[in-house]
Symmetry: C2
Subunit: 359 residues, 2 copies
Amino acid sequence: MKPSNPNTHSARFAGAELERFITQALERLGLPAADAATTGQLMAQAELQGSDGHGIIRLLPYARRIRAGGLNLTPTIKVVQERPGMALIDGDNGMGHLVMARAAEMAIEKARICGIGWVGSQHSNHAGPASLYARMPLAHNMIGLYFAVGNANHLPPWGGLSMLLSTNPIAVAVPAGEEPAIVLDMATTVAAYGKVKAKAQRGEMMPEGWMIDRTGAPLLDPARADEGFLMPIGGYKGYGLALIVGLLAGTLNGAAMGKAVVDFNKDDVTPTNTGQAIMAIDLSAWGDIDAFKARVDTLVRELRASERMPGVERIWLPGEQSQAKRMEHAAHGVALPPALQKQLAAFAQELGIPALQAL
Amino acid sequence: MKPSNPNTHSARFAGAELERFITQALERLGLPAADAATTGQLMAQAELQGSDGHGIIRLLPYARRIRAGGLNLTPTIKVVQERPGMALIDGDNGMGHLVMARAAEMAIEKARICGIGWVGSQHSNHAGPASLYARMPLAHNMIGLYFAVGNANHLPPWGGLSMLLSTNPIAVAVPAGEEPAIVLDMATTVAAYGKVKAKAQRGEMMPEGWMIDRTGAPLLDPARADEGFLMPIGGYKGYGLALIVGLLAGTLNGAAMGKAVVDFNKDDVTPTNTGQAIMAIDLSAWGDIDAFKARVDTLVRELRASERMPGVERIWLPGEQSQAKRMEHAAHGVALPPALQKQLAAFAQELGIPALQAL
């Protein structure tokens, strides 16, 4: 084993090492080896694409829930409703990654036949970043869409004070030709709650517009996040979007929505009955795949060549920054905050697995 | 015939009369009777639900394009690609209302078999308010989704100055039980361009946040709208959403996107090659329809009962205000701005059809 970098601030970790560590940890926590491997691979992928709020940082909260008995380690994921173009699957309170990997596979298979495929889940759990699943159809020359109900309510209806909605994310991935795929992954709030947590950890103030308090005044101190709520994008429009995503991913599937959403930050025991949905759109059903990709490339280049506002260095396409991180991380590894490194070192010792080795 | 109300400010028009007027006008302009009737009915419905920017106000611009030869009066709308769950239809440059009414029917039929159905269009035209089509599946116990590429670019990519994107709207309609259906209909910009035009007509200033000029400064005077551009909701998120909607409704269908979008305010001749997409989700595929509707009712009531911010009288669900207008308009008719009434009176005389009669 290589000695870990003495300067923890600049320590970098290879994707394969993150995957090894997460997989072994999940196995020790009781997941079957194959399930631990699938989850470890997806969580490492999340780190590699820069979704650090949904990567290895989630290992400890997952462990807490597993140990509290709030998650089924040996779920029977089964199809409860099916038509040629859709399925509803019951995740049996298993790890969300396993449920959604299965859902993505099914949606892709259905899209091959029907042109489009939609698979919803009930009794699932947190599955990591939305784009992880929206991207899965890309390799099959398909567009992917993903919707999920967030695992804690941070958003009231527009004009309200009762937190009945979550940051319910939308992700869409569209294949391109020579250009990187266009991948939008967004919470329906101005900031995702993970960003608030990150600000709190770093002891920084939040910009105005992220949160307001119960009087409607801007809330800037993330340590006071409990006293306010997140702002939806575009005011009532973002409230509407969060609601619609929740209806499609939650209510339609018989999964938790509104008051029924379990706050997984505060409750490790109650099954979350998380709802998600993934859709695949098979490009070949629309005609020539290469012609489509060429149209996307043209559009990407038109946008990138746009005249820019003063001070703007370049125009980004959704997903380009993640793609740049993915390449940088593949080449040089992923940096982890020192505090997280310490937690993971202690956790490795506790579980009796080899500590995370820096590059 | 009843005498028209001498006070044009308070004149109200019945939906049936609006439909009669639009239908006759379109027939005189050369549309086949059945096509004129379908379009007249949909345009009157737009008025009745309060989508006044997409109702009878569009008759004169449509007439201008028809007379300029920019629209095919006798299109052959045909299926160019098909799979069990999808179709791509070519509107042959006909009225968008006809193309999308056909698309909605097909999506509903496909959803009956596959659980979901998706129909995209190319060579279509402006079809009125997005929610008109998203609502069509409701009567079949289905969720409806609608995406469209707007017919003029008003939005640059985030950080850019070149107007390469339109206000590309999203509409989603979800059936409820005792409660009105939840219907979200939103442009991906803070304000739709129609709202800017309405402010200009009324000689009012726009609120900050609707538009910025090329230096990034707020643009408040709608008469100067040409010097700036609309702001996307949630900053780069709205840019991403507008792009994704355009990819799904335009690029995927081989319809206009980016630079290829024809500004139908300035060009009456070039075919717009408008792209739209409609999706139907059959509730029965997911299980018991009444159980789903009861869950939606519960959610609606939870949201409506939310504690409110100071000064907020009630919590609205998306679509409730349209529903209230629909009921009010059905009972008391639709008010039209005096300037529009005058234009329509002159137009009736020109076409030799009976003038619009007030209630």
